[in-house]
């Protein structure tokens, strides 16, 4: 009889947080920075740590951006899950109710943005929906429009970045996270799942989830997860959090725990029910009410914690400093087709053209229209 991995994960996370000091209680600030500032009694205290408060202030003022993409066949509860995650009607369907509920004949990419705010923290959340994915009879290359969309966002960012006169804050439309919905078959990944994740995991952070997990018993669920993990491993698919990007031992410890739990088996709901005197989100069936945020019932809470409460910044960092940079390198090299070796990396070139303006030409070649 397997027991779900319960509080140990959350507790570990808590311990980790306070160790790292980022889940300290609100307004922790730096006591001296707020207190006696002026009259020299804080002997020996310089005030360098006040920069943390300054950064926080700046972040609150600027707000945050987060772009999340959902991919999966129709009927897997993608919209509902998004609404549940962000506790509001953020999905496309909620914004643009489609009376016929038709499945599109081709894959469409539809993104919709929302301004949300919580305790003074403002966020521009963009949900990118991909209706039509996996719904055709022949699904060959159905990842292509999605790949293209993701790369187009990288391209847009790159173009802005190399402008002479560029914006103070480059608008970030890059896809930070792609949630891939696996149908709860209970057996193994389908070829479509493997193919999609294999290709996309190279350009974006993929978070696979088992959708509509309320149709699986706990044993079926664990077996399914294990099979999926093995298949991912066998196919060399690196989903978030990727092992190679663990920063230090602490990170690895936390992430290893997460990696042992993915894919999260989730249930979404935007209906509230009364359970034990409390109003909670759930799905009511004849045999009971599935509580979405109860970790004994499903792993929604873990997904929410990972995506939003603890690893959101990390997800964005990996997108920016790794996936985007990979795209950039490839793109810049592409446009240097005629010239090899690459001047900035080859010592011979460095010696040959002492004046770096030569070096910089390379970076502007790529402004050519794409082939």
């Amino acid at each position: 009889m397997l027991s779900p991995p319960t509080t140990c994960y959350l507790l570990l996370l808590q311990a980790h947080r306070s160790q790292r000091g980022f889940f300290e209680f609100p307004n922790h600030g730096s006591p001296q920075a707020k207190g006696d500032k002026t009259n020299g009694s804080d002997f020996g205290y310089v005030g360098i740590d006040a920069i943390l408060e300054q950064m926080r202030r700046k972040a609150m003022k600027q707000g945050f951006e987060f772009n999340i993409m959902v991919v999966g066949q129709s009927g897997l509860g993608k919209s509902t899950l998004m609404n549940t995650l962000f506790k509001s009607k953020v999905s496309r369907k909620s914004v643009q109710p489609n009376p016929e509920e038709r499945i599109p004949k081709t894959i469409e990419i539809k993104s919709i943005s929302h301004d949300i705010e919580e305790k003074g923290v403002r966020m521009k959340l963009t949900v990118i929906d991909t209706p039509g994915f996996g719904d055709q009879i022949n699904n060959e290359n159905c990842w292509q429009p999605i790949m293209k969309f993701i790369n187009d966002q990288y391209e847009a960012y790159l173009q802005e970045e190399i402008n002479i006169d560029r914006k103070k804050r480059i608008p970030d439309s890059r896809v930070h996270c792609c949630i891939y919905f696996i149908p709860p078959t209970g057996h193994c990944l389908r070829p479509l799942d493997v193919e999609f994740m294999r290709r996309l995991s190279k350009v974006v952070n993929i978070v696979p989830v088992i959708a509509k997990a309320d149709t699986l018993t706990l044993e079926e669920r664990d077996y399914f997860k294990q099979t999926i993990r093995e298949e991912l491993r066998a196919n060399g698919i690196d989903v978030y959090p990727q092992k190679e990007f663990d920063e230090d031992a602490e990170d690895r410890m936390i992430n290893d725990k997460i990696r042992e739990m993915i894919p999260f088996a989730v249930v979404g709901s935007d209906q509230e029910y009364q359970v034990n005197g409390k109003r909670i989100l759930g799905r009511k069936t004849k045999w009971g009410t599935i509580e979405v945020e109860n970790i004994a019932h499903c792993e929604f809470a873990y997904l929410r914690d990972l995506l939003i409460r603890t690893h959101m910044q990390n997800i964005k960092d990996i997108t920016g400093s790794i996936h985007y940079e990979t795209y950039r390198v490839r793109r810049l090299n592409e446009s240097n087709g005629h010239f090899t070796p690459h001047p900035s990396d080859h010592p011979l070139w460095r010696n040959l053209c002492n004046c770096y303006p030569m070096q910089m030409f390379w970076f502007f070649f790529f402004k050519l229209p794409t082939k």
Binding site: F23, S111, R166, Y356, P369
Partner: protein
């Protein structure tokens, strides 16, 4: 495969959506701060001022540590910039602090070019960042940012007005760095003189169009304190790392026979204000201004200088193409020219060497001929000598033969007589 159609829906801007419960992204500032804490911070201060204004001491006082061992050597001509990096830590914050000092500033007889090395230094840091940013494979994440975030300009406490060197230098620096002017060693000025001095300095800066750093007033939590402090600029500071007992506490102070100047006493000097503004309230803003304003300006100017332009959206493909082609041709042309030059030089060298070798060959031949002739002459001479010697020998032989013949005949004829004669001789 079916044709793919992508319909991207631009939301009509973003809609504001209320949340029905606690989502949890309010932890984002904490997540961000946490990441920065792990990564560490860096801050770079440039101290510009004449020799002896207490720049090093002020840095020591500000950061509560003794930075350098020995005082800087002042034996270089011109203005040199000396940069030192230190790792400081306070609670969980690690700071990589770089302090750059201008050595020899104001020491020269002719100070016209004093500002140049400072401007060059600041530009060099921007340049390094720009180059890193433009690399194909770059590591901006772990790049050690050396760009100057704050420039403390030390004004000598004359009590009268700014020196022309100060005005000129600050004017050259104001578009490149955040300038915070301070009156150094301000315990040399009385309070009333100080007030007048500050007003004079401020008005001179304004009338000369020098843009000094303004503490930001757009964020309401710090707007008030920042705008108050703005009116106290330039800060009159006193630095000291020595401690004096006042009452029952040890405080940083300078002790004179007539009294003690306490560094952290706001009635005595503006040191606390400086520390507050520079470190505790606006350090992040200083970093941000450096990156988004000064660096961007440098980058834009540099790129424009080299002929790059953002094209307007209408003519996008073509003029970009043209620029590209033009630059590429220019580059290829230069490359070819270089190659040609090298080849020419090579051919030339070969020719020269060939001629050299030919010359040498000729010389050798001549030498050989000469030697040969010499040899022949010698040989001839020798032969002649030999011949004459042979002749002599022959002559001698003939004579000898003849003489022998004669002797034989003589012997036969009067052989006895000789005997007789010999006998007689013996007697």
């Amino acid at each position: 495969a079916a044709e793919m159609r992508i319909a991207k829906m631009e939301g009509e801007g973003a809609r504001a959506v209320p949340l029905a419960g606690h989502v949890g992204f309010d932890s984002m500032p904490d997540q961000l701060v946490n990441k920065s804490v792990n990564h560490g911070f860096c801050f770079n201060i440039l101290c510009v001022g004449e020799t002896g204004l207490g720049k090093s001491t002020l840095m020591d006082t500000l950061f509560n540590t003794k930075f350098e061992g020995e005082p800087t050597q002042h034996n270089q001509p011109g203005v040199t910039l000396k940069s030192n990096t230190y790792e400081l830590q306070e609670s969980n914050v690690r700071l990589k602090l770089t302090v750059v000092n201008t050595v020899g500033f104001g020491d020269q007889i002719n100070k016209e070019d004093s500002y140049k090395s400072i401007v060059e230094f600041i530009d060099a840091q921007f340049e390094a960042y720009l180059q890193e940013e433009l690399k194909i494979k770059r590591t901006l994440h772990s790049y050690h940012d050396t760009r100057i975030h704050a420039c403390l300009y030390f004004i000598a406490p004359t009590g009268h007005s700014l020196k022309s060197l100060d005005l000129v230098t600050m004017k050259k620096l104001d578009s490149k760095v955040n300038i915070i002017p301070i009156i150094a060693k301000s315990d040399a000025i009385s309070k009333s003189e100080l007030a007048k001095f500050k007003i004079k300095i401020t008005s001179e800066l304004v009338s000369n169009g020098v843009q000094i750093y303004q503490f930001p007033t757009d964020d309401e939590s710090v707007a008030e304190i920042n705008s108050t402090m703005n009116s106290h600029l330039p800060f009159a500071v006193v630095g000291s790392t020595e401690e004096v007992k006042i009452g029952n506490k040890m405080v940083k102070a300078r002790q004179y026979p007539w009294g003690t100047v306490q560094v952290e006493n706001e009635n005595h000097c503006d040191f606390v204000k400086l520390r507050e503004m520079l470190i505790r309230v606006n350090m992040e803003d200083l970093r941000e201004q450096t990156h988004t304003r000064h660096y961007e300006l440098y980058r834009r100017c540099k790129l424009e200088e080299m002929g790059f332009k953002d094209t307007d959206p209408d003519s996008k493909p073509f003029s970009l193409q043209e620029t590209y082609e033009a630059k590429r041709n220019e580059f290829m042309g230069e490359l070819q020219k270089k190659e040609e030059e090298m080849r020419q030089m090579f051919v030339q060298r070969v020719k020269e060497k060939e001629a050299e070798l030919k010359e040498a060959e000729k010389e050798l031949h001549e030498k050989f001929d000469r030697l040969k002739k010499l040899h022949q002459d010698e040989k001839k001479k020798l032969e002649e000598k030999k011949k004459s010697l042979d002749d002599e020998l022959n002559t001698f032989k003939q004579k000898k033969t003849a003489a022998e013949l004669l002797q034989n005949q003589a012997q036969q004829a009067g052989g006895s007589t000789t005997l007789k004669r010999d006998k007689e001789r013996k007697k």
